[in-house]
């Protein structure tokens, strides 16, 4: 297959708007011409999943540096009491750490002002066990959000709860999703002004995907914006909805056969961002249902898309579809990182998105125009993204469907070039994005499937194997101004943790076999590793403790898709004994399921 990685230092960049050619010299580790964005004073807290509304996952703390990170050591650990994929991240607000567990979604509030971090309170919600069997990809939770003295998070079974952050008392609880329909809610809520935005998983169950906004004070549903259906259901109003590439109305119906959009998927289970100047919330939608694409001819808008909505009333302002007529389960739910970057010599307000489909996009976040789209892993289902049309140039030999039988050797797999559950970090000092990636390829055999409410609506078998080079994952640094990898740390297994970047020029990530690592943000040299007892599928955070020191916190607890793919890591149910997966035969040698919160410091 073709390798797209560009490794030359001197590059030619096409200036899209003026049509002139400009040459930019890229110094590894720094994007030339990048304006030094003044870093806001960092108060040391971590109040929302992505650290800030731009979702940079960047901390302004600089006590930990490449010179001293080798001395990082654990200062505390706590067993969550739950075995399951520990996705998401803790929050730290006013010297309190908030931890949400996987199902049954206990919330712990630890007092960081006391030496042993005892609990202030814990909240143990009544959550339905039915939801566990309807959550396609382990009973994970992607975190809480702090706003207005409240902690907000979702229970797996379709409820959003708001708690008083000081006392843990429940303020309100709203039913947002229906488990009997195949909907579950592991997503972290996203609060903008007085709106709590939430979405549902269920692309594997043929849901009709949506985003809802709840009132922050009362929990009442203020609006529901569907991801497909008539324009009225999309909240796509004439004169307001202006997608950059697609100008017809009713695309949420016309790009589907008959009523297929009603069970067409487009779950919302990833991360959201917000630009307060443009007043736009950005989020990605997931895969179309079913996985067998021949049951849903057409582009299937707006699955696998980025949506830009006004938080107050949900009006859809623009949308862009990364993978039209997705035939490989390329959910577009990975984060949208909002930064100002030079592209072709001009500073642009963009969003950067690392898609499951293997391409990294730099998009004008006001209009939805794609400025840069380059592969960040090995990709062969498409040759390139045509920037005039915004559409991928698909290799037709990689299309899937029942009539095509077993299509072999497609890269990346349906886990994606990166998992959307493993969010990216950005450093305004290096102007680089730090990405956990998978290096895997797959065969894909589609099968006919019927929609039975509450049961999986899939229709595909897709075994995986390691991609070129034999290693299965890598942690990469990416220059989104031009679209190229700057450095790579190869890992034995797919890298499934999130990333955090710091002003000390150290970045942190974790591995599937249970290593927490620190790397030099500029060079990619690994400077510190510590085995945390179970694979890391959650997102590290960095915060300032009451003593003024810098701390690193992360969950350990393998799961998420790996609960399905590597079932022999499970050891807690004698009635569920599985052989090792063909492509990760020895993962269970290095990890089993777990549930720990770790805190490290110098």
């Amino acid at each position: 297959m073709t390798r797209f990685h560009l490794t030359s230092v001197l590059m030619t960049v096409v200036c899209l708007t003026a049509g002139t050619w400009a040459t930019v010299t890229i110094v590894p580790g720094r994007a030339a011409g990048a304006r030094a964005t003044p870093t806001p004073v960092d108060d040391g807290d971590w109040t929302m999943p992505g650290k800030n509304y731009a979702s940079t996952r960047y901390s302004g703390l600089s006590e930990i540096t490449p010179a001293n990170v080798g001395h990082l050591h654990p200062v505390w650990t706590f067993s969550t009491g739950v075995l399951g994929g520990h996705e998401g991240q803790p929050l730290v607000v006013h010297n309190t750490m908030y931890v949400v567990t996987p199902y049954p979604n206990t919330l712990y509030a630890f007092d960081l002002s006391q030496p042993d971090y005892p609990l202030k309170w814990k909240y143990r919600p009544a959550v339905s066990p039915n939801a566990v069997g309807v959550a396609c990809c382990d009973a994970v939770n992607r975190g809480a959000f702090y706003a207005d003295g409240k902690i907000l998070y979702n229970l797996l079974d379709g409820h959003t709860v708001a708690l008083d952050a000081a006392t843990g008392r429940q303020l309100w609880e709203t039913t947002i999703a229906d488990v009997a329909n195949g909907e579950t809610t592991p997503i972290a809520p996203f609060v903008v002004k007085n709106r709590v935005l939430v979405g549902a998983s269920g692309g594997e169950f043929g849901i009709h995907g949506w985003v809802k906004a709840l009132d922050l004070q009362t929990g009442r549903v203020a609006w529901t914006g569907y991801n497909m259906g008539p324009d009225s259901a999309l909240l796509a109003k004439p004169g307001v909805f202006k997608p950059y590439y697609d100008h017809e109305s009713q695309l949420g119906v016309s790009t589907w056969p008959k009523d297929a959009w009603q069970i067409g998927g487009a779950p919302v289970w990833g991360w959201m961002s917000y630009d307060s100047t443009l007043d736009l919330v950005y989020y990605g939608t997931g895969n179309p249902a079913p996985y067998n694409p021949e049951q849903r001819a057409g582009d299937n808008k707006w699955t696998t898309s980025v949506m830009a909505r006004r938080p107050e009333d949900g009006s859809l302002v623009w949308a862009y579809q990364f993978t039209p007529h997705d035939s490989w389960d390329f959910d577009a739910t990975a984060g949208m990182i909002l930064v100002d970057l030079p592209v072709a010599g001009k500073l642009r307000k963009v969003l950067v998105h690392f898609d499951k489909n293997g391409f990294a996009y730099t998009i004008d976040r006001a209009t939805g125009q794609v400025l840069v789209a380059q592969p960040f892993v090995d990709v062969n289902w498409a040759k390139r993204i045509d920037l005039t049309t915004g559409r991928p140039v698909v290799d037709s030999s990689k299309l899937t469907g029942v009539s095509r039988g077993n299509v072999k050797d497609i890269c990346p797999t349906l886990e994606g070039g990166t998992s959307p559950a493993s969010p990216v970090a950005y450093s305004p000092r290096t102007h680089l994005f730090y990405v956990s990636t998978n290096n895997m390829c797959m065969d894909y055999q589609a099968t006919q499937t019927a929609h039975i409410r509450g049961t999986p609506y899939i229709g595909a078998n897709s075994p995986y194997y390691a991609g070129p080079g034999g290693y299965m994952g890598a942690f990469e640094a990416w220059d989104a101004s031009v679209g190229r990898v700057v450095w790579t740390i190869k890992e034995r297994y797919p890298v499934w943790s999130g990333a955090v970047a710091t002003a000390g020029d150290v970045v942190f990530y974790g591995t599937l076999d249970g290593w927490m690592r620190a790397a030099d943000a500029r060079t990619g040299k690994v400077l510190w590793s510590f085995k945390v007892g179970s694979g890391v599928v959650g997102n590290p955070i960095v915060y300032r403790g009451p003593d003024g020191k810098q701390y690193l916190a992360v969950y350990a607890g393998i799961g998420g898709d790996w609960f399905l793919l590597a079932g022999d890591v499970g050891s807690d149910d004698p009635a569920d004994v599985r052989p090792p997966a063909d492509f990760v035969k020895d993962l269970a040698r290095h990890t089993s399921r777990g549930g720990l919160v770790w805190i490290f410091a110098l």
Binding site: G133, A180, T449, P456, N461, L564, D568, D573
Partner: protein
């Protein structure tokens, strides 16, 4: 009948059914009491009620007999394998029932029992943690075919031990 059972949560449909039957039972008990006969609870126990389960398709199943009419029938096992796919069982339990979101059904180990009647009950009424109640959705014969299929699976040579060189 309802007085003598501890039921934590009763879906409305079952409650209606129970009340209807209960009304008949208490009428009979009352007349027996007047005649001096013991008000014995002769009614059969209610169909198994999980504390909570999804009824696939929205309908709750009624009671059923628990003898597999297809025991040992290889044609039924083959039909059951096809149903395992067409009813989306493989979507949760994996192709060949080797486990996915739902547990492996091919390892000879059973959370709720591996006899034909226990497997039938699990499929028919559903189980905690999200196994839907397929009895509301497909005929009992189809469920028995799936039971026959699952019981026909060959176990791996060594289930308990996983070793690496």
């Amino acid at each position: 009948m309802t007085r003598q059972q501890t039921i934590r949560r009763i879906p409305l449909g079952v409650l209606a059914l129970v009340l209807a039957l209960g009304c008949n039972a208490s009428h009979t008990d009352a007349s027996r009491a007047r005649e001096g006969a013991p008000a014995a609870d002769k009614a059969p126990p209610l169909a198994i009620v999980s504390e909570s389960h999804i009824a696939a398709g929205g309908a709750l199943p009624a009671g059923a007999t628990l003898t597999n009419p297809y025991a040992g029938d290889s044609a039924a096992a083959t039909a059951g394998a096809a149903l395992f796919t067409s009813m989306n069982c493989d979507g949760c339990h994996g192709g060949g029932a080797t486990g996915w979101v739902g547990p492996s059904l091919a390892d000879g180990r059973w959370r709720y029992g591996g006899s034909a009647s226990e497997i039938f009950t699990s499929i028919y009424y559903g189980r905690r943690y999200g196994m839907p109640a397929f009895g509301g959705l497909m005929p009992k014969a189809g469920i028995w075919r799936i039971v026959t299929y699952l019981q026909s699976l060959t176990l791996p040579n060594d289930v308990p031990t996983e070793s690496w060189k």
